[in-house]
C-alpha cells in the first residue's frame, strides 16, 4: 500500500466514476440507446448461451444428481440389474423423457385452462449474483412471444416474460424479489398480493382486513386486462403458514409455489388470453389416500375352517 497516486490517476478515476453515474442517470431517465445496447447484446449472445448451456450440461447434471442423491437411489439400484448397454441408453434418454413429461403436463394445464401457448425449452438459468431469479427460454418474438406474457409449467405459474428477443426471451421467475402478482384464493373472492422472496416461498398480503386465510388455501392468478402480464386462473401455490400479528392491518401468509424453479426444463408461454376465465378449474386435486385392504378372520368354535371377510 505504498501507492500515493498522481493527478492523472485521480483524473482517470473521476472520469470513470462520472461516466458510470451518467450511465445510471441516462438509464433511469429511460434513454432508448441503453435498452438497445442490452437488447443487441442479448440477441448476439443467444447462440453462445445455447452452446454454453450444452457444454456445461454434464456438470450441471452431475450436481443435480449429487443434490438429489436420496431420490435417485432407488432408481440407481433398479438400474444395476440391467446390462451396461441398456443403462447407457436409459441415461441418454433420461433428459428427453423428463422434458417430454414436463411438456405433456404443461400442455394439459394449458388445455384445461383454455390458454393458447407456445412451448419453450429453458436454455439457461440466470445467475443469482445480482439477487435476481430469471431463466432464458429458446422462444422469442419470431414464435409469438412478447414481453409481459405469462409463463407456465405443468404445475402452475413460472413467471412473466421480461424481455423478448428474436429467438429467445428472458423470464422473471415468480421467486424473484421484484416479482408481484395479484392472487385470488380459490373457491372464494378474497384477493391478495403475492411477492417473491428469492426462494420457493412467497409472501402473501391480503388487501381486505376482514378476509381470512388458512393453511392449505390454494392461490390462483387474478389475471390482468387482456391477459397481460397475467392470465386468470393459473395455479400459483399453496398457503403453508399464516402470521397473525396483532398490530398488522391485514393478514400475511407464507406461500409455497407449486413450481420447482430449479428443475425447469420445458415451459409454456401463454400467447393469448382464454375466452373465459377458467375460475377454479385448474386447482390441483389433493392426493387421495390409497385404501389398504384389511382381512378379518372370524373363528367360530366347532367350525371346520375359519371364514375370512375382506373389508376396505
Amino acid at each position: 500500500m505504498r501507492y500515493g497516486g498522481d493527478n492523472r490517476g485521480r483524473l482517470l478515476i473521476i472520469i470513470l466514476v462520472v461516466t458510470s453515474l451518467l450511465l445510471i442517470t441516462l438509464d433511469l431517465r429511460g434513454v432508448r440507446v441503453i435498452d438497445g445496447l442490452r437488447t443487441g447484446t442479448q440477441t448476439a449472445l443467444t447462440p453462445v448461451q445455447r452452446l454454453g448451456s450444452w457444454a456445461v450440461s454434464p456438470f450441471r447434471n452431475f450436481l443435480s444428481d449429487v443434490t438429489h442423491l436420496g431420490r435417485t437411489r432407488n432408481e440407481i439400484e433398479k438400474l444395476k440389474d440391467d446390462n451396461d448397454q441398456l443403462r447407457l441408453a436409459l441415461q441418454n434418454r433420461e433428459v428427453a423423457d423428463i422434458q417430454l413429461k414436463q411438456l405433456k403436463k404443461v400442455l394439459d394445464l394449458a388445455g384445461n385452462g383454455g390458454y393458447k401457448v407456445v412451448a419453450a425449452k429453458v436454455i439457461s438459468q440466470g445467475s443469482s449474483t445480482s439477487f435476481t431469479q430469471t431463466i432464458t427460454i429458446d422462444a422469442g418474438t419470431t414464435s409469438g412471444v412478447f414481453t409481459n406474457m405469462t409463463v407456465l409449467s405443468g404445475y402452475g405459474l413460472v413467471g412473466v416474460v421480461k424481455y423478448a428477443y428474436a429467438n429467445s426471451a428472458l423470464v422473471q421467475l415468480a421467486s424473484d424479489p421484484a416479482f408481484k402478482i395479484g392472487a385470488r384464493i380459490a373457491r372464494s373472492e378474497q384477493i391478495a398480493i403475492l411477492s417473491g422472496q428469492g426462494t420457493r416461498k412467497g409472501l402473501l398480503q391480503l388487501l381486505d382486513n376482514s378476509s381470512e386465510i388458512k393453511k392449505g388455501d390454494v392461490l390462483l392468478a387474478r389475471g390482468s386486462q387482456k391477459g397481460r402480464p397475467f392470465v386468470p386462473g393459473v395455479p400459483i401455490g399453496e398457503v403453508i403458514s399464516v402470521s397473525n400479528s396483532p398490530g398488522a392491518l391485514t393478514e400475511t401468509a407464507e406461500v409455497k409455489f407449486y413450481t420447482n424453479f430449479s428443475t425447469l426444463g420445458v415451459v409454456a408461454v401463454v400467447v393469448s388470453e382464454p375466452r373465459s376465465d377458467p375460475r377454479d378449474a385448474l386447482v390441483p386435486s389433493k392426493p387421495q389416500p390409497t385404501p389398504i385392504p384389511t382381512v378379518t378372520i372370524y373363528a367360530t368354535p366347532g367350525a371346520d375352517t375359519p371364514s375370512p371377510a375382506a373389508t376396505n
Binding site: R2, Y3, I13, T19, L37, T41, S127, T129, T132, G198
Partner: protein, 147 residues
C-alpha cells in the same frame, strides 16, 4: 450457472484477480470494463452503470491494496483472499446501492445466503483460474507481474 447456495461470476472474479495484479489506474479501468459487461447482461436488475460504479471502486480498492506490496502480490493465497473479500464487498455495495435506487432486494437472510454462497464458490474457482489470469497478465504487462 446456478449452484447450491449461490453461484459464481467469472467476470467478477477475473476482474478482481486482474486488478490485484495491476496498478490502481489499470484496476479502475478493468473495473469499468467488467462493470459495463455485467451491466449489459439482461439478468442485471439495476440501471446501466450500476455494476460499473461498483466495479470501479471494488477493482480500484483491490488494486490499491495489492499495489507495491509484494507480500500481497507475491502470494497467491493473499490474492485469492483479496478476491473473495472483493466479491463479497462488491455484492454488498451492489445490494446497498440497489436498495438506495429503489430496487426490490428480497429478504435479508436470502441476500446474506447469496453473498456467502458466492464467496464460497469464488474461493473454489479463484485458485483454478489464478494461474491463467497471471499468465495473461504477464503476457500483457511483462514478466514482473507473474506470480
Amino acid at each position: 450457472m446456478r449452484l447450491p447456495a449461490g453461484s459464481f461470476n467469472l467476470i467478477l472474479i477475473f476482474a478482481l484477480i486482474w486488478s490485484a495484479l495491476s496498478t490502481p489506474e489499470i484496476g479502475a479501468l478493468t473495473g469499468f470494463g467488467a462493470g459495463i459487461m455485467m451491466d449489459l447482461s439482461q439478468t442485471s436488475p439495476g440501471p446501466m452503470g450500476h455494476w460499473t460504479l461498483v466495479m470501479i471502486f471494488a477493482c480500484y480498492v483491490v488494486a490499491f491494496l495489492g499495489y507495491g506490496d509484494d507480500n500481497v502480490r507475491g502470494n497467491p493465497i493473499n490474492i485469492i483472499l483479496l478476491t473473495v473479500v472483493g466479491v463479497a464487498s462488491a455484492q454488498s455495495v451492489f445490494l446497498l446501492l440497489g436498495f438506495l435506487l429503489g430496487q426490490a432486494i428480497g429478504s435479508f437472510q436470502q441476500a446474506l445466503l447469496v453473498i456467502a454462497g458466492t464467496a464460497f464458490w469464488t474461493l473454489i474457482i479463484s485458485p483454478l483460474i489464478l494461474k491463467a489470469v497471471s499468465f495473461i497478465h504477464s503476457a500483457v504487462f511483462g514478466m514482473h507481474s507473474r506470480i
